[in-house]
């Protein structure tokens, strides 16, 4: 009963006009001098607030690996006369949501609160950020959860691969180990260590703030002072740069599981390098952008060797890498790796075509404004931009930078950034033929 539908003769591609993100960013300074980026939108009666502190788990003191991460997990476990349960109840009463997160280069707080009880929500959040209790009872309980997670990581091929790869790339630098710590380091952490981690990381000299939603600039200024004027002026010294120490070749970490996980990469290019945008477009053509990359085409679509393969420019505060990931059955992962190596070589030898460049530009420039959807996601992007040292104008100029990349430029940059002779693979599983 299926009618053949003939009305389509050709699917045409509309050429995308240069799109701009439809966000109006205001720069707000509080009476005490705290700065924030604001996107005001009164459509829905709530606000998303994002606060980031640069530094993150890389600021763990010697022999205290995991302290910053545990400290962040403990911020919602009680403040003042509220214990963990009392605090959770109070947040629930307001229907607010506070999330605390720690990564290599930053710790961050994502809050969402209704306009009708914003002041009360800010008071509660302030307690967590400025004056957490770190009750011993709660420390023991949360440590137990982290230990459980760390034990699971030890038997998860993805986590085993990540740990081995990071160690090979960064050795004793913080990037070389898991920011959540080890079972031993977590066991040894004390209440005093958490207060020290708090002092080191939660300070005014490293804070970045954004708010999106139902709030005015004036209200935000006052709110920032209420929330953060008790912050100490300074924290610990920022971590140092580190170079990627990977050697070419394949490292196998034996683990008994049916599908091997492979991580691969070599040194990369920094966010502020003049060639960054050319490298970024190249990385999209090779391994990014959903189903459209060369790697997906060659490894998945043509050969069925994997469900997913990706590579991208991993830029961190103190190091940069070209990084990728693939997973294939133990008897096929060697083939997948061969194809990836061949694609790395083909990219450098042949470069990309004008057609690929044009296609990638329309994709990247069209996709960019679509990221700015919803108060929470916009707040996250705005803090990320501030941490990278970008100006508010970047949302309007970013697509021009993508469009400015020429074929000559991208093919020159590819030869400098993509290094087939340096590509390292860490493979976890029981791979055959490696």
């Amino acid at each position: 009963m299926r009618q053949i539908f003939l009305s389509i003769t050709a699917v045409f591609v509309l050429l995308a006009a240069p799109l701009r993100a439809d966000v109006d960013i205001q720069e707000v300074t509080s009476p005490s001098g705290l700065k924030a980026w604001l996107v005001e939108d009164h459509t829905i009666p709530f606000m998303a607030l994002r606060i980031g502190f640069k530094g993150g788990t890389s600021l763990d003191r010697a022999d205290k690996r995991g302290a910053v991460s545990l400290m962040m997990a403990m911020l919602e476990e009680g403040t003042g006369n509220l214990d963990a349960r009392g605090y959770a109840q109070a947040v629930d009463e307001l229907a607010a949501s506070f999330k605390f997160d720690a990564s290599d280069d930053a710790i961050s707080i994502s809050a969402r609160m209704l306009s009708e009880n914003r002041d009360e929500a800010i008071e509660l959040l302030k307690g967590a950020i400025i004056a957490p209790n770190f009750d011993q009872d709660a420390i023991d309980r949360v440590k137990g959860q982290i230990q459980s997670m760390l034990q699971s990581d030890l038997k998860d091929p993805n986590e085993i691969a990540r740990a081995a790869f990071d160690r090979a790339a960064y050795g004793n630098h913080a990037y070389g180990s898991n920011g959540d710590g080890t079972p031993e380091s977590i066991a040894a952490l004390t209440q005093e260590d958490l207060f020290a981690a708090h002092q080191d990381t939660v300070a005014r000299d490293r804070v970045f703030i954004s708010a999106v939603g139902d709030i005015t600039a004036e209200e935000l200024g006052a709110l920032m002072d209420t929330l953060l004027s008790d912050l100490p002026a300074t924290g610990a010294k920022m971590p140092k740069r580190v170079e990627v120490g990977l050697d070419a070749g394949v490292t196998v970490v034996p683990f008994d599981t049916p599908q091997s996980v492979a991580l691969f990469g070599h040194r990369g290019i920094g966010r502020h390098h003049p060639d960054f945008f050319a490298a970024f477009v190249a990385s999209t053509i090779l391994g990014g952008g959903g189903f459209e990359s060369r790697l997906m085409e060659e490894v998945r679509d043509k050969r069925g060797l994997t469900y997913g393969v990706y590579s991208f420019l991993a830029t961190r505060e103190n190091s940069e890498m070209v990084f990728g990931q693939v997973a294939s059955a133990n008897d096929r992962v060697a083939d997948a790796i061969d194809v990836i190596k061949a694609e790395w070589e083909r990219l450098v030898e042949e470069g990309v075509t004008q057609e690929e460049l044009d296609h990638s530009k329309t994709y990247l420039t069209g996709a960019y404004p679509l990221r700015f959807d919803g108060n929470g996601p916009i707040a996250n992007i705005l803090v990320g931009m501030q941490m990278q040292g970008l100006s508010t104008d970047y949302v309007n100029t970013r697509n021009d930078k993508v469009n400015a990349v020429t074929l000559d430029e991208i093919n020159r940059v590819i030869k400098e950034v993509y290094l087939p002779d340096e590509l390292h693979f860490t493979v976890v599983g029981q791979p055959e033929g490696l």
Partner: protein, 452 residues
């Protein structure tokens, strides 16, 4: 639906009724409108004009639980194959065109539905409709595509399931729960059946289920119902309904007479735990109160720091690293109410299970914390405000509901139904569900002997 194993209710009504119900555009509130096309396709429009973005989704009332025996995984396999060639497009051209227009696209398969979606600038909506209409009826499968893509789904199974002992454990527990219903078969398929899926299997499923009268179009974002109707009539309107669309009657569960237990042992398990699932009724059209009570029971028991299981097992006797309860009410047929206890080191799985039983019993015997219940209800009201910030989330909510026998009205009524549930309703619903004979208890461990 169908708690207590009543006879199956025919779903024919659901397949034909919406045509009449939605013939004219109905505006349900300031955001949601619906209408139907003459060929039976239902259309939902969710407006959000804050950004010039639109999500275009096509939901089919067909998932893995609608498969024939012997071809498990074919619904999901076909989902992959819909990105291959049609009479008008080359393999991969669909996604390539979406990307060239700055959009992203993907698809997903569940027990009760299969859905395809694109996120694009709102002025590209018509192109999405043109392509989606094309692949609804013009798919042209080739042997080569079938063979390669079958390798891809097997690698997907490797990644999601074979490499994850927790996923293997869930698969076994589900199979033990459902003696007769296809919910006992994994969505991705049993490996040995996936390995034999062929072109004909995919083609059969496609021809049976992919038709406008089995589809729901959801468009969410910077659009108006008038524009969507205009475009939808142009692109989807000419598609012919499948008049042979079967009634959606799956084999139902018999009366469960014996509790089932299983131990899954895998050396890759680092953190052992015990799970207990009970067969439970789901949300039904016009009859959602029991489901709302079970949803609240799960929240009271297991959601967050102040929940009953969390307080008793994690905070008070410190016997668990984690304890929770969950219930997914949006399902076409009987669903599950599940509790999980992850013991601290030194507490065995049999002790963890005994603790679980004790706490569930205490919850049934002690009065419900009214203040906690009120907090949950107030929070759910607030969630309705936050939900407006994410129209793709709203689109998913309507898609799941409409493919599992619910109506727009059911979705809009849900907050009021939840509000109307009291302590007695929760106790009664939970007591009815916590029947040992309908339960599956599973232990996940690296060492079955030590777990005792």
């Amino acid at each position: 639906m169908r708690f207590g194993f009543r006879l199956a209710v025919p779903f024919l009504a659901l397949l034909s009724a919406p045509i009449a119900a939605f013939a004219e555009t109905v505006r349900w509130d300031d955001q949601v409108s619906t209408f139907s096309l003459d060929n039976g396709m239902d259309v939902v429009v969710i407006e959000d004009h804050r950004a010039p973005v639109v999500v275009h989704m096509m939901w089919y009332r067909a998932g893995s639980a609608d498969e024939k025996p012997g071809v498990s995984g074919v619904a999901h396999f076909l989902e992959h194959l819909l990105f291959k060639a049609t009479d008008n497009m080359e393999a991969g051209e669909f996604s390539r065109t979406v990307a060239a227009n700055g959009g992203s696209d993907n698809a997903f398969t569940s027990y009760d539905y299969t859905a395809y979606f694109q996120r694009v600038a709102s002025d590209r909506l018509e192109l999405m409709m043109q392509m989606e209409a094309d692949r609804m009826v013009n798919l042209r499968l080739s042997e080569a595509d079938i063979l390669t893509e079958r390798e891809v789904i097997i690698e997907e199974r490797n990644q999601r399931t074979e490499n994850d002992p927790g996923a293997l454990f869930n698969e076994q527990a589900n199979a033990a729960m459902y003696m007769n219903h296809r919910y006992g078969v994994p969505i991705i398929g049993w490996r040995h059946e996936m390995e034999t899926l062929d072109l004909q299997d995919a083609q059969d499923y496609y021809e049976q289920f992919y038709a406008p009268n089995n589809a729901i179009l959801i468009v969410a974002g910077d659009v108006t119902p008038e524009d969507v109707k205009d475009m939808a009539e142009r692109h989807y309107g000419p598609l012919e309904a499948n008049l042979d669309l079967p009634e959606r009657l799956r084999p139902q569960e018999p009366d469960h007479k014996a509790a089932r237990r299983l131990v899954y042992e895998d050396p890759r398990v680092a953190q052992p735990y015990v799970s207990r699932a009970y067969l439970a009724p789901e949300r039904d059209n016009g009859d959602q109160k029991t489901a709302a009570a079970l949803m609240l029971a799960a929240e009271l028991l297991g959601d967050g720091q102040t929940a009953f299981m969390t307080q008793r097992l994690q905070f008070e006797d410190k016997s668990a690293v984690y304890a929770t309860a969950y219930y997914r009410g949006t399902s076409l047929d009987d669903t599950r109410f599940t509790t999980i206890v992850v013991p601290v080191p030194g507490v065995s799985l049999s002790e963890a299970e005994a603790n679980m039983d004790r706490v569930l019993q205490e919850f049934l015997e002690e009065p419900i914390d009214t203040a906690h219940l009120d907090r949950i209800k107030r929070n759910m009201r607030a969630q309705e405000i936050f939900a407006k910030d994410n129209v793709q989330g709203l689109a998913n909510r309507y898609g799941r509901a409409l493919t599992t026998g619910l109506t727009i009205k059911d979705v809009l009524d849900w907050p009021d139904v939840v509000d109307s549930v009291n302590e007695d309703d929760i106790k009664t619903a939970l007591r009815d569900v916590l029947q040992e004979r309908t339960s599956v208890t599973g232990w996940l461990t690296s060492d079955a002997e030590a777990a005792k």
